[in-house]
């Protein structure tokens, strides 16, 4: 009886894992595309806030903290936003994301690290350090777009 129970648990667990690694279906692809598209748009909104602060001293430090925090949070989640087979007609994601996955992950990590540095500076209220860290965040955005984002559709 105990064995049957254990076997049942193991089978259920295996099934659950199998479900998780199954390629997402078309509608899941659409959902993945839409959520990452929103996340990317939130990144550009945050970058706009940060650029205004860095270049024209506009905005408050608390807005900078929020923007840097958003970039850091999104960056940490970028790899999970690109499940296999989540290409859609509208998506500008390049196939290289999945063929060069570890490199893509490294690019996302670079953004997470650069934005974390900025977040620390902003939380400490150090405007000069925020300004000094801005370039690295921008480069991280550009580095990833260079290899993994296609042209406008």
């Amino acid at each position: 009886m105990k064995r049957i129970f254990l076997f049942g648990v193991a089978a259920a667990a295996a099934l659950a894992v199998g479900q998780a690694v199954l390629p997402v279906q078309a509608q899941d692809a659409m959902a993945a595309y839409e959520s990452r598209h929103k996340a990317m748009e939130s990144l550009s909104g945050s970058m706009k806030t940060l650029a205004a602060f860095v270049k024209e001293n506009q905005g408050s430090m608390s807005e900078v903290v929020a923007a840097a925090d958003n970039i850091h949070t999104v960056a940490m989640n970028i790899p999970s936003m690109f499940p296999a087979n989540s290409m859609t007609e509208k998506s500008r994601a390049k196939a290289e994301i999945w063929t060069m996955w570890s490199d893509f992950e490294a690019d996302a990590k670079a953004l997470a690290e650069a934005s974390n540095k900025m977040l620390m500076a902003a939380k400490a209220g150090d405007a000069d350090a925020v300004k000094a860290s801005f370039g690295a965040v921008g480069s991280a955005c550009g580095d990833c777009h260079k290899g993994y984002r296609g042209p406008k559709k």
């Binding site: 550009s44 650029a51 955005c141 550009g142 990833c144 777009h145 260079k146 984002r149 042209p151 406008k152």
Partner: protein
């Protein structure tokens, strides 16, 4: 460690045996030292300023993007990077000073002929994937500086890769006919009615940075339609659409000069997006290395050219 006596011992022997000899050795050493100092100057007649200016020209002209195969881990300027066009795939050649595989046997006159007239030292016509229809407007002084800097590049023994261009576009003799139809050699002529900044911007955009090679549409034979200067190209390299950068609503009318300069500096658009694809490379290896004044000059020029609607074909 065998063989060489300690330097101190040599000196000791010399002084002990004959002061005259020491004197001669000393003189010879001084002469040698003087010669050693003079040698690099002899071997490299170009002055340091020309090399520095040439490096700047190299950045402004965006040579790196095509002549280095970064994806494939190729040596700097050793060629090999693929340029996909509607006519086939071109591979930029090795332009390091390697005598066999690069341009080590070229003279500065050869480089001038290549950039101004699109011909090789052997008299062959270059395919216009090499943007000499823009470089023809370069000043000779800039080319001479560029040449001085190119001499300082590490020679690479990377052989050139043949272009993969199907007929008839791959027939080199036809490139001569193409030039006859579409290529107008000639230096940049400043417009006396415009400011110095505008003219500097025009020179950078049209000659060095060769923006029109991608941003101006082409006809079915690949000739640049200059009546639509920078109005965008729906079929750019890699068959990717290239945007309109004239001050039209379908172009960059909404961008300020400062927005343009910022974008050319590190790739950020006014709405916080970041450049990708080919333009990200142009910014990294080209415009991002220019002076603030030069980026401002490009912006001033772009805001002043005729506003044209985007091309759909």
């Amino acid at each position: 460690m065998r063989g060489g006596p300690a330097p101190g011992r040599v000196a000791h022997v010399a002084t002990a045996s004959a002061p005259m000899v020491t004197n001669r050795i000393l003189r010879a050493a001084m002469l040698l030292a003087a010669f050693a100092v003079a040698l690099p100057a002899l071997a490299q007649p170009a002055d340091g300023d020309a090399v520095a200016r040439g490096e700047y020209v190299f950045h402004a002209a965006g040579c790196e993007s095509c002549h280095t195969d970064r994806k494939g881990g190729g040596a700097s300027l050793a060629g090999g990077r693929a340029l996909e066009t509607p006519f086939g795939t071109f591979y930029a050649p090795n332009i390091t000073p390697h005598p066999e595989y690069g341009i080590g046997r070229w003279t500065v006159e050869d480089l001038i002929a290549a950039l101004h007239r699109g011909v090789s030292p052997g008299g062959a016509h270059f395919f216009p994937a090499f943007p000499y229809p823009s470089y023809t407007q370069m000043s000779e002084a800039d080319i001479r500086d560029l040449w001085a800097w190119l001499q300082t590049v590490e020679p690479a023994d990377t052989p050139n890769r043949a272009h993969d261009v199907p007929p008839p576009f791959g027939w080199r003799f036809l490139a001569g006919g193409w030039k006859w139809m579409f290529f107008e050699p000639g230096r940049f002529e400043p417009d006396p009615g415009k400011s110095a900044q505008w003219n500097r911007g025009a020179y950078l955009v049209r000659a060095l940075a060769h923006c029109g090679e991608c941003h101006t549409p082409r006809n079915f034979l690949g000739g640049r339609k200059d009546d639509y200067h920078l109005a965008g190209n729906p079929h750019g390299a890699g068959n990717e659409p290239v945007p309109n950068i004239t001050p039209h609503d379908s172009g960059i009318a909404g961008w300020s000069e400062d927005d343009i300069a910022t974008y050319l500096d590190f790739g950020m658009t006014p709405d916080g997006d970041f450049a990708g694809g080919a333009m990200a490379e142009v910014i990294e290896h080209g415009t991002g290395n220019l002076s603030d004044d030069d980026r401002a000059a490009i912006a001033a020029y772009l805001k002043d050219i005729p506003a044209l609607p985007s091309r759909s074909e």
